[in-house]
């Protein structure tokens, strides 16, 4: 870690605020019709994403899911290309081909946010296998939801990682629901971390609202992975404030007061209070908040000013070489 302890704390605070702010703006411009498709916000889960990614090196790998905005920001991605991606611009991190569910920035080790539930897990195991075969000490971290832990891909990916002692960290963000389905209805164990028992894998449950706790438990897992100790399953108990995706209000209403209970333990507020208790000036934190706002606004300007892809770009990136263009598009 190149940061001073204090720098690192402020960086954690900063990344959480960037996520919070990014999501606020994303929701607003989606409502305003600027973002097509669906939008799944990460608001409420910031401490999990940032706490985990801060425990990684930039050259470590990270794979995520449909709730894709927070992870790459947590991993240190620049905001402009992420915002441009939401708008489908050619300057987007995926050249406008991925959109909101797939914000992935390979330049910071964010190797893919994938919107098919569970599908990132085998891929993350494979990145860990690659790191191992190459003799590097890189590790691979995979974010997935409580719902994803019911997919066969979870089982196969974790088992593979375990029998091959791969340098992988499987981080389940248990936010209590898969769309409308409460965990308790889809899983018959108390903690998803219990499932590690099926793979002889170390595991931990952590308070996903407490960024230091997340960082600590992930750091331990990263250490184990880097030194040949194999994978870990971590479950972070967290919560998304919004409905599953925008315009799915029906699902939210049933949750009643639950949201308020969780808001009372807002990860950013908790951390702010902790930093202030540690003697950090609230002005310094306010400045970070202002910077985050400004950075997101700057990203939005960048995104808005960017061009859309050219129609023929649709035929790039299926393969390394561009596909032939069909006659009807070339005249």
């Amino acid at each position: 870690m190149t940061h001073q302890a204090n720098d690192l704390s402020l960086e954690k605070y900063r990344r959480m605020l960037r996520i919070r702010e990014f999501e606020a703006v994303a929701e607003a411009i989606h409502a305003g019709g600027e973002v097509p498709g669906s939008l799944h916000t990460y608001t409420g889960q910031e401490a999990t994403g940032v706490g985990a990614c801060i425990a990684l090196r930039q050259d470590d790998y990270m794979v995520g899911n449909h709730r894709s905005h927070g992870h790459p920001i947590a991993k240190g991605a620049a905001l402009g290309p992420l915002m441009a991606e939401l708008l489908g611009k050619v300057t987007g991190v995926c050249k406008g081909k991925g959109g909101s569910m797939h914000l992935s920035d390979f330049s910071v080790g964010s190797l893919g946010e994938t919107s098919i539930v569970g599908s990132g897990i085998p891929v993350a195991a494979g990145a860990a296998l690659g790191a191992k075969l190459q003799g590097t000490d890189r590790v691979s971290l995979c974010f997935f939801g409580d719902g994803a832990s019911n997919e066969g891909a979870f089982h196969e990916g974790l088992n593979l990682a375990s029998v091959w002692k791969l340098p992988a960290i499987f981080l389940c963000e248990n936010n209590g629901y898969a769309v409308s389905t409460p965990v308790s209805q889809a899983v018959a164990v108390a903690d998803i971390a219990d499932r590690a028992a099926a793979y002889g894998m170390p595991s931990a449950v952590v308070d996903g609202q407490d960024i230091d706790a997340v960082e600590a438990v992930v750091t331990e897992a990263v250490e184990r992975a880097r030194t040949g100790g194999g994978p870990t399953l971590i479950e972070a108990k967290t919560y998304r404030y919004a409905e599953h995706a925008v315009n799915m209000g029906r699902v939210l209403r049933d949750r009643g007061a639950e949201v308020d209970t969780w808001r009372a333990r807002d990860p950013i507020e908790l951390y702010r209070a902790k930093l202030i208790a540690q003697g950090v000036e609230s002005e310094a934190l306010d400045a970070i908040a202002r910077d985050a706002k400004e950075a997101v606004q700057e990203a939005l300007r960048f995104a808005r000013e960017s061009a859309y892809p050219d129609q023929l770009d649709a035929f790039d990136d299926v393969f390394v070489e561009r596909l032939p263009i069909p006659a009807y598009l070339t005249n």
Binding site: G37, S115, A178
Partner: protein
């Protein structure tokens, strides 16, 4: 009769069949909360045993539908978006399609797997699949692809009553179509019967799912210019009403396929191959395919739409065909 949407047609079909037959039940992810509106009121009517939320385990619950069917139930499985069928291909291809055969007819698998074709609105490549063609290359699965609310209701009811497994693909681009829906509880459209959606004399257009409304619009436009399209909707892909298609081409001598799926090994390809095999002598020109080209669907709204079949593309194909012909005055080809 009241005008109702495609989604409402699905709801009515399921409701009527669940009322009629206790063995029918429905399961899928988040169907109790009824995301798309196809199960409105069902929990109150039928209870949570028969309206069953599942964990996110497509292979598991689709496989479970096979087991339940084999012991006498008639499951409807709601897989929301057809891209989520891939994780379940194990059970669909190896068990559902093959069990009856491999056990020499001992098993019967009366089940319906519903999923929607969710393309054209920036859902990106992982959510935009239109995979019906690949299920045609493995025997044992019946397939329906209704293109309007009435067909939806009649075909889905028939599918639920069918003793074989049926995949039902619901094109999101047809959701808004509103029609009068028959209230007769025994209103059924038999699988395997295509329909001439518009009669015509110059060119046969075989259109699938969301391709049908587009073909009908193209027919309207071309009618003004003196070109008469006959639009055929096969409605079910297995069994496929090859006879109806071939008969039409024998009359018109020309054919255009409209299929929102990718080009290669598509339904468009299959129907084209059937026509050239069975009606070659009637053909006055090539058979043209208007499909999505073999590239993925990008998220960006700037470049997604032009990849799908469109009225313009059908019109251009029609001009190409009649321009090459002498019966109809040649037109400038596009």
């Amino acid at each position: 009769m009241a005008r109702a949407s495609f989604i409402e047609a699905i709801r009515q079909a399921q409701m009527e069949e669940m009322q009629r037959d206790e063995r029918v039940f429905i399961m899928g992810e988040d169907i109790v909360c009824n995301v798309f509106g196809t199960t409105t009121g069902f929990v109150d009517m039928f209870g949570k045993e028969r309206v069953r939320d599942t964990p996110i385990s497509e292979n598991g619950f689709i496989g479970a539908s096979a087991g339940a069917a084999m012991v006498g139930m008639r499951p409807i499985v709601d897989v929301t978006i057809s891209s989520f069928l891939y994780p379940a291909m194990d059970q669909i291809m190896s068990m559902i399609a093959k069990s009856r055969y491999i056990y020499g007819g001992q098993a019967k698998l009366p089940l319906v797997i519903r999923s929607c074709l969710f393309y054209g609105n920036s859902n990106a490549a992982q959510h935009s699949d239109r995979p019906y063609a690949m299920f045609m290359n493995v025997p044992g699965l019946k397939i329906i692809v209704p293109s309007d609310a009435r067909d939806m209701k009649g075909l889905l009811k028939a599918a639920i009553r069918d003793d074989d497994p049926v995949l039902c693909f619901e094109d999101g681009n047809c959701w808004s179509s509103k029609m009068e829906l028959p209230e007769d509880p025994d209103f059924l459209i038999p699988l395997g019967q295509g329909e001439v959606k518009r009669e015509g004399t110059d060119i046969t257009v075989v259109a699938v799912a969301g391709g049908v409304p587009i073909a009908l619009k193209a027919a309207q436009r071309l009618a003004k210019e003196g070109i008469s399209l006959e639009v055929i909707d096969p409605r079910s892909l297995v069994p496929l009403d090859r006879g109806l298609i071939v008969k039409s081409v024998r009359k018109t001598g020309r054919a255009i396929m409209v299929d929102p799926a990718h080009l290669s090994c598509s339904v468009a390809s299959e129907v084209s191959a059937t026509i050239v095999e069975e009606a070659f002598e009637s053909l006055r020109g090539p058979i043209l395919r208007v499909t999505t080209p073999d590239t993925h669907l990008p998220f960006s709204p700037a470049i997604e739409k032009a990849l799908y079949p469109s009225v313009d593309r059908i019109v251009a194909a029609a001009y190409k065909l009649v321009g090459a012909d002498h019966r109809i005055p040649a037109q400038e080809t596009v």
